[in-house]
Point group: C2
Chain length 142, copies 2
DNA sequence: ACACAAAAATGGAATTATTCTAATTCCAAA
DNA sequence: TTTGGAATTAGAATAATTCCATTTTTGTGT
């Protein structure tokens, strides 16, 4: 984790009155390290390589703190376990039904604007979620 | 339930080799009757007014059959219990965080097209899900 | 009508992601 | 260095959904 990320973590936590504990730092580091939308179980496995005694409850606590601070996005597709994503830019998710992989799809501000403006009068969105299901060709099987 | 709906139910079920049982018919009728995106528990309550002995397992079985036949859409928002919607036209969902109500948001084919075309080369979507969270003004508190 | 087989419904147990609880440990400030 | 609140922990609890074994219903052929 670089200095900017560490700085961002500390200030975002502080702004909510939370402390940058070893566990929170390591969970955040882990999510930044591999942008593949892991779920809590997978994050537990990865974090335990550095903090072998961390518990699943703590992983959930840390994830909740990071989400509440806006450092991480919680991604819910269908009814599968929540996944976590460090990409804070407006983007959609694409789940390939052949590989099971989740891909980030960057969203053009134009498209975002057209989405928001498609809301009828009287509706004010403060957030949206967009996901696709489909298949990817061989190039995206990374 | 009108004749067209009953016809659609029977043919959609038949096309999957399923039978239009009393339970399936009643669950479908219930979902058509009030387009408020009920979950399985709420559907159980409503269906029991006509079929007092139906079980929750059967409601889930029926919902699965109806979804598999394409007669009903399963709507998952965050990690709350699945909701069910008879609106088969392309539409998004809007959850009002003041009232908790779910609203259908019709989607202009232009916007749908711009969504699909925002996918990078190599990604082919066969489906998408779009939901908003926000607030509605008094007019939409129906 | 009757018998049979397949499909469906049923109740309850099992599963599983997540949250809760109560006990312990950590840590920043006094 | 004490200490009080914050955080972590293990395990129990919760709740939506699925599974399983049994019973009921239904369609078909006699
Ligand atoms: Mn939270
Ligand atoms: Mn299904
Ligand atoms: Zn993402
Ligand atoms: Zn709907």
């Amino acid at each position: 984790m670089n200095d900017k990320d560490r700085k961002g973590l500390h200030s975002a936590l502080k702004s909510k009155g939370l402390r940058p504990t070893r566990q929170r730092t390591c969970v955040y580091e882990t999510i930044l390290g591999k942008k593949d939308h892991p779920n809590a179980d997978e994050i537990l496995l990865r974090v335990r390589r550095n903090l072998p005694t961390i518990s699943l409850a703590t992983v959930y606590n840390c994830l909740d703190a990071l989400v509440d601070c806006g450092l991480v996005r919680q991604v819910n597709l269908d009814r599968s376990p929540s996944r976590f994503c460090p990409n804070l830019t407006p983007h959609a998710h694409f789940k390939c039904n052949r590989t099971g992989k989740i891909h980030d799809i960057p969203m053009d501000p134009k498209v975002v604007a057209s989405l928001e403006s498609s809301l009828p009068k009287g509706f004010t969105a403060e957030n949206f979620d967009l996901s696709f299901i489909g298949s990817t060709d061989k190039k995206n099987h990374s």
